[in-house]
Amino acid sequence: MLFFVVVPLAAAFVCLAAKKSPRMSEYATLAGSVIAAGWVLRLAAGAAGGTVYFSRGYTLYCDSLSAYILLIISLLSVAASVYSVEYMRGELKAGTVNADGLRYYYFLLNLFVFTMMLVPLANNLAVLWMAVEATTLSSALLVGLYRKKQSIEAAWKYIMLCTIGITFALLGTFIMYYAGAGVVGAHGEAGSLNWTDLMRSARLLNPATLRLAFIFVVVGYGTKAGLAPVHNWLPDAHSEAPTPVSALLSGILLNCAFYGVMRFAAIVGVSCGPAFVQDIMMAFGVASVVIASLFMLIQLSAKRLLAYSSIEHMGIISLSFGLGGIYGLYAALLHILNHAIGKPLMFFVTGRIHSVSHGARLDGIRGFLKMSPLTGVLGFAGIAALAGVPPFNIFLSEFLMLKGLAAGAHWYIMAVFLIASGLVFFSLLRGFGGMLLGKKAKNPLPGAEAELHHGPSHEAVRTWWPASVMMAIMGAGLLFLGLNIPGGIDHLITRSMGIFMGRGSF
């Protein structure tokens, strides 16, 4: 049941093999992602009903939480591959990549998706770690795809910081194993790294040891999840990667890393009480929100703006997760989904804007709304959603978080958050409003600027109708989820909350 995960891997190698026609790799990618998504939907439906899937030897495992994350990953991978077709064709025409590079791109893309899908399925914490590290490696190559100074620099920082961070995560994992080693695992061998076993025997584990483990893990995976103050790789990588990849990075990669934190937090929470975990998570959350909101004020490039907004949203997720309780946890999990729809949509819109603008700068273009009304409207919907404006979906999760804050009487945090959200709103509206509105014109930029960012500008907006349809669906999703949360998703979320609240922890 769980081995569908090899589908993207297969697709990857098909892409690598397809030397002759770039079309081939496009179709392979699309087909692979769609098949995987279909499978995941079945899985999720089952998980929503309470079924839990195991592979032999319990290395792979899928409960409601994993299914939920998987669902997001697979759906978003479909979106990303559809958009990739439009985007990479444009790049091909522009000559920023050649046919070979295209093949390479699709290969890595599928690999990346595969590694990400592995993360939530991993039951063994070491396997989880490997998967996360693998995502870094595969995506680093994608970030460096255009062999330009900036992209290489970004990739270098990305891989360096994330690998170092993740080293700490591994250390944490080892310590966790050591804590578990004393306890007899469920399946005979002394000490197991299976999350299920550790969770089962969580009460017996030594709290002090677990706390140490959690510290290393949270720094490690937190770096990858883009939590301030260890977020520094994120804006560079997001702004320099090809746009579909940026979408994947901020939409799900961050969540994959955060998923690791959550799994650990579940165990630690049971063993040594929620307070410790919650304080750490809330501290990270507040820091991220504040820093991101301030940095957004001074951004000149659209993708960096979005990148910082991702940091802000990861901060919100971490903050609500730290809050715990029915409000906090529901908010955190719901926010993961909401952000995973809104942010990629905005990246896609930005990609289209850049297809006609001089460079990636915010003042590189005016009046895009007139050039492509649909995209423009979607862009407005996107920024409204990202700024947490009702009736769009992100407002709901933020509202729940605020309820949590109020219930916990964290008035200062609430004040800080509200101020920060005001700044975020202003920055987003100023940035994208400036590009979408105004007289139709491309502000001429100094040549250096122009070549320094995405290559020469095309005349017509680059569109491919399936991509437009897909983006429209995403936009509708933003609105729909803002007004109604489907029962299935609600079940998945509530069951996943059970993982953290079930044993009286959190």
Binding site: F216, F295, L297, A387, F425, I485
Partner: protein, 669 residues
Amino acid sequence: MISLAFFICGAVFFAITPKKGLLHYLYLLYAAGAGLAAFSFARALYDLGSPGAAPTLAFALHISPALAVSFRGGPLQDFFGLLLSVAAFAASVYSSGYMKDNAAPRFQGIFYGLFILSMGAVFLSGDALSFLISWEAMSLVSYFLVISDTESEAAQNAGLTYATMTHIGTAFIIGAFMLAFAATGSLDFAGMAAGLAGKSMALKSAIFILSFIGFGMKAGIVPLHIWLPKAHPAAPSNVSALMSGVMIKAGVYGVMLMSLYVLGGPGAHYATWWGIVVLATGAASSVLGVLYALMEKDLKRLLAYSSVENVGIIFLGTGAALVFYSFGQTALAGLALAAALYHAMNHAMFKGLLFLGSGSVMHGVHSKNLEEMGGLLKRMPYTGLFFLMGSVSICALPPFNGFVSEWLTFQSLILGSVTPPAYSKVVTLLGGAALALTGALAAAAFVKAFGVAFLGMPRGPKAREAREAGFPMTASLGFLAAMCLILGVEPGLLLRLISAMPFAGLAQMGSAAPFHSPLTVAGGFSGFWPAAIFASMLTGLLAIIVLAGVFGRRRKITYADSWDCGIKALTPRMQYTATAFTKPLRVIFKTLYMPRKEVRISFKQKPLFVSGITYRSDITPFMENYLYKPLTAFVGKVALKIRHLQSGSLPLYLGYIMLTLIGLLLVWA
């Protein structure tokens, strides 16, 4: 419910109708919907007394098993709903003519409908979540309407300021709701009211002040008003009419909802300083608002500033009501509250009228600048007449509606002298003084507006070619003008609706104005009889005509040039301009205006032969320069400082990781 259907159909049709030529007729759908809504609201208010009166609508939608939004009609809700639907009716009828030649009718039509709907949702929502959703939806849609001219930079900046400020305001509102939620565990307004009854004064005060700031932002009270004169003029006139006429009332509604309903639950008692704060803010807004209106050369900005003024007047009444409640003088509180509500309704009428009128003027003259108008009364007689009626009403001159509400406000403020402590006496009476000053200033402002725009000689070619607006536009203007007159002559009509509300003391107001007899307040403290004043004037007119007919012989009337001291050509440039008209006031209030003037003289031959003199004079926007600019500058500076944290050097980033780790280890150890 039916009206709801109408609106949805309207919006859908706007989306699907293929022929752009037909689009403007769809506004009539909205008009029909609004009309129906108006009737249902009015009926609901009339039935309130009678047993078994059903709320106008009540239903709940589930977002998720845990989350639901509920909408419920109630007295206050219905009153503002009525206000909305009447204004919306007029505006929609107007739009059907106004939108005939408009740039992007399709989007605008949809957003226009959504705008009205969202405002209705705000007035009718029964719990915090639904309120916030509709509130922000309203703000968002209105933002899109403000920027509907996507090409103009000014509109964009206005929109940005507006959206940001209203978002911050919403943050305050959220804070207030969350405080209430934490205290009562309920997000339902009724639940909050019940739960807050026994709570501590400090908590209540916090909730009150937060909500007052948040809603005041939307209502445009000084000093939170700066978005208003930017945003309202930027929108197309039919929308500005709704924004100024209704949307800022949403702020008023919010303040009333929180202070009177949520905080004023059973057995609630108020802190006197709440009322004092509201009153003082109201006074400041009314005076400053009208002072800035006086200086405007842009017709729509003038109207926008006057909205600030009128909101101030409404808050004068509200504040007085809160003060009276705090002393348990419910009857007087009822009077003050009635004044505030009455003025809210009035302002919706005449401000709608004036904005729509300004729309017609721009339609004819293609300019918002007063200095380019003049002599329009002869070219657009109906618009002129109705605009004049609107001006008279907004200056609170009998026999029009503005006077009734201002009279009531005056009474309540004078009666502030019966409150026990001296400070409330003084404050209320000073509020009265502010109101008096406001009245005089408003008169000057609108004399300027009407006189310069409609009287005298055309000041430019645009004004000379001006043509009267089409039928639907003038018709809706006429409708609103008639409303102004009716509400001014027969206050009983509206006071009966107001008195139906369950707030303590309002009940007396019902009997205060039975039809065809004087309006008396506070147990005969004072009274007047609008209808009689009107009638006496009419009879007087009749008498004059009769006398003239009997005694006077026909005299000949010769038409000639105006007196021009003998120079043979009196050119329009010799007329008093709007700037010249207000010059004395610029001098008198120079400490406030800080006027800057520049005189440029170009010579044929120095120093004697002057070829031309240009005189520019404008005023320093006080708030912007001394409150907002420093604030934004400060935030910007902080952001630039913090920029160094991300200096791009990898070792630094590694350092962050290490420090974080060590810090956490410290926590752990």
